[in-house]
Symmetry: C2
Subunit: 344 residues, 2 copies
C-alpha cells in the first residue's frame, strides 16, 4: 500500500457515517491526494462541504473505482455486495462498514486496538465490525489480554443514528408529541425492511434489524459472532439483547463479564482499562461520574464506568460502556483501519 | 380486618402514585366507606376528581388516621417514617410504597401473586416493593416455583414517572430541545437529593437513587435485596444495573435467568409464564410481537417477551419484561395487597 498521495473514495457519501468518514480523514490528516464522494444516482450532484473544501457527489458505478487506492463503503450491504469486488478488481482496498462480508472466513474483521495483526493478510476487502460490537471489544480487550474472558452478557441501549439519517429525523418529529404519545405514527424503526414499525420517542424497542429463526435479532447475532471472531476465541460465551432508545447518538451497554482468572479486584480491572488506547475510565460514584450517551456524542473514545464486582461471583464484573456509534462505532474505526494499512 | 365499609386514607394524594391508588380503588370496587386524601400542608385544599366524585386534599397530621382502617403511604420514606407508626397506633393497617420499611426483618414485603402467605403475620405495616422489583418477581415467580432459579442478572430501562410527577415535567420540557440537546439544563434527575443533575431527554442515565459505598446504587440494591426477600431465598444470586431513560411510563428489563433444573425448553418456560396470574407472554418474533413501555402504559399486567435460551448455557434464559411502573409497579400492587387483607 502507498503511504501518501492516496486516492480515496467514500461510498454512501451523503449518509450519517459517510460524512463522518470524510470529516475524520480531514481531521486526522490522512495522506490523501483526492477524495471521491459516491452515492446513489438520486444524490449525484449534491455538494458536501468539509474542511473548507467542497465535494460534489457522483453516482457509484464500477468505473468510479479506477485509480482508487482505498474505498470506504457505508451504503448498506446490498451496495457493498454490488460494488466492493468491482473496486478490488480495479486495485482498491475496500474497508466495508456493512454486514456484507463480516463473517466471511477469509475477510479480516478489524478493530485496530484489538486485532490489527489480522490485516497482514487480506484479499482486498476488510470488514469494519458492527457499531455495538466495536465499542464493547475495544473496552474489553485489556481484560481479555490480562485476565482472560470466558463469558459476556450484554444488554444494549442504542441510539437511532445507528439506523441512519432518516431515523434521526423520525425521532425528532416524534419527540414533539409528548402529550399525544399514544398516537405517534412510525414509518421506519425498528427497521426499514420490517413489516411493522413502532414509535421510538418515549419508548424502548427490543428489536434492532430483523429476527433470525433462533429468536435472536440479526443485531444480537452480529454482537455475539463478531465478538468471538475479533477476539479469535470460539469458546467464549457471548449473548446479547439489543434495544433501540430515543437517544440521537451514543450507544450504551450494560455488560457482564466473567473473567478466566479468579480473585481480580475492581482496581486491577480499572487499571488495565485505563492503560488501554482509546479507552477512558470514567468511574467515580462519589462525584456521580459515569459515561452517558449525550456526553459521548462527538467524542472519539470509548468510555467505561459503573465498574462493580458481582457480590456473589468472584470472577464476575458489571460495567457500563458508552461510545459515539458514528465515530468509534463506524467512521473513526474505518479510518483507523486505513491508517493501519498505510503505516504497515 | 373488616371486609366492607372500610375507611381508607391515601398519603401522597397529589403524587403520581397516589392518584393512581385512588383510581384503582374505584375501578376495582374496593369496599370503601370513605377515602381521605392526605398530602403536605402546601397541597391541602387541592381538589381531586375521580370516578365522578370530588376529593379535597387535607394536610397529613397524626390525627388524620383516627378511624382509618387502611392507610396507603406513597409520599417518600421520610413521611412514612414520620406517620406510619402514628397510623398503626390508631388501628390502621399501613401499606407503604416507600423504601422506609421494606428490608425490616419483621415487616412483610409483598407481591400478592408471589408471597401472599406472608401477610398472615404482620404488626400493622406491610411494605410494597420497589417498582422494578415487583414486575420482575411477578414474571419470574412461575419459573421459581416450577424450575427453581439460581441466578438473575438484570439491566433496567426505567421511565421517569418512577421519579415522580416533577420528573415527567422535566422530560417534557427537555424533549423540545432536540437540536439544542447539548445545552439542556437539568434540575432534578437522576435524583432530587443528588448533587449533580443530568439531562434525561435523548440520554440514558446509569444512576437511579443515590450511590452506596459498594458502587451499586440504592435502586440496584433494592432490586437485589428485595427480590431475595420476596422469593424467600438468601442463596439466590441477583445483580442489577439500573438505568433511567427518556420514557414517560413503563419500566423495561433485560433479564438473564439461570434455572436450577437442567434441559428446560423455551416452550416449557413460556407455558409456565402464560399460566401465571397477571402475566402476559407477548412473544412472537415472526409478527414482531414483544412488549414495549409505550404500549404497557395504563395496563395492569406484566408483559414478557424476547424469551431465548442461552446458546451456550443450558440452564440460562434471556427475556424482556415490561410493565406500567405506576400500576403493577406501585398503585395496583398496593391495592392488591389491601384486597388480599380484606379477603383473608
Amino acid at each position: 500500500m502507498k503511504k501518501e498521495n492516496l486516492n480515496v473514495a467514500i461510498v454512501g457519501a451523503t449518509g450519517a457515517v459517510g460524512t463522518k468518514i470524510l470529516e475524520k480523514l480531514i481531521e486526522r490528516n490522512f495522506p490523501v491526494k483526492s477524495i471521491k464522494m459516491l452515492a446513489s444516482k438520486r444524490s449525484a450532484g449534491t455538494e458536501i462541504v468539509a474542511g473548507g473544501k467542497s465535494y460534489v457527489v457522483e453516482e457509484t458505478v464500477p468505473e468510479s473505482f479506477e485509480n482508487v487506492d482505498i474505498a470506504f463503503f457505508s451504503a448498506g450491504g446490498a451496495i457493498s455486495k454490488m460494488f466492493a469486488h468491482e473496486a478490488v478488481k480495479r486495485g482498491a482496498v475496500v474497508i466495508d462498514n456493512t454486514s456484507a462480508f463480516r463473517m466471511d472466513k477469509d475477510i479480516p474483521l478489524v478493530v485496530p486496538e484489538v486485532n490489527a495483526h489480522v490485516l497482514q493478510e487480506h484479499a482486498g476487502i476488510i470488514a469494519n465490525p458492527n457499531c455495538s460490537t466495536i465499542q464493547m471489544v475495544a473496552a474489553l480487550q485489556p481484560l481479555k489480554e490480562k485476565f482472560g474472558i470466558s463469558r459476556i452478557i450484554v444488554s444494549t441501549y442504542q441510539a437511532v443514528s445507528g439506523a441512519g439519517a432518516e431515523a434521526i429525523e423520525e425521532l425528532e418529529k416524534q419527540s414533539g408529541q409528548f402529550n399525544d404519545r399514544a398516537n405517534i405514527q412510525a414509518e421506519l424503526l425498528p427497521s426499514a425492511s420490517a413489516e411493522r414499525h413502532y414509535p421510538i420517542a418515549f419508548n424502548a424497542i427490543p428489536q434492532i434489524d430483523l429476527f433470525d429463526e433462533s429468536g435472536f435479532t440479526l443485531e444480537e447475532l452480529k454482537m455475539m459472532n463478531e465478538t468471538k471472531k475479533i477476539f479469535g476465541d470460539d469458546q467464549m460465551s457471548v449473548t446479547a439483547t439489543c434495544v433501540r432508545l430515543p437517544v440521537v447518538t451514543g450507544h450504551s451497554e450494560s455488560v457482564y463479564v466473567e473473567l478466566e482468572e479468579e480473585g481480580i479486584t475492581v482496581e486491577e480491572l480499572k487499571s488495565a482499562m485505563e492503560n488501554a488506547k482509546g479507552v477512558i475510565v470514567q468511574d467515580d460514584p462519589s462525584s456521580q461520574s459515569y459515561p452517558m450517551p449525550l456526553y459521548a456524542e462527538g467524542k472519539d473514545e470509548v468510555f467505561v464506568g459503573r465498574i462493580r464486582k458481582d457480590p456473589q461471583h468472584n470472577k464476575g464484573f458489571h460495567m457500563w460502556i458508552v461510545s459515539d456509534n458514528l465515530l468509534k462505532g463506524a467512521a473513526l474505526n474505518s479510518v483507523q483501519i486505513a491508517e493501519q494499512l498505510v503505516q504497515s
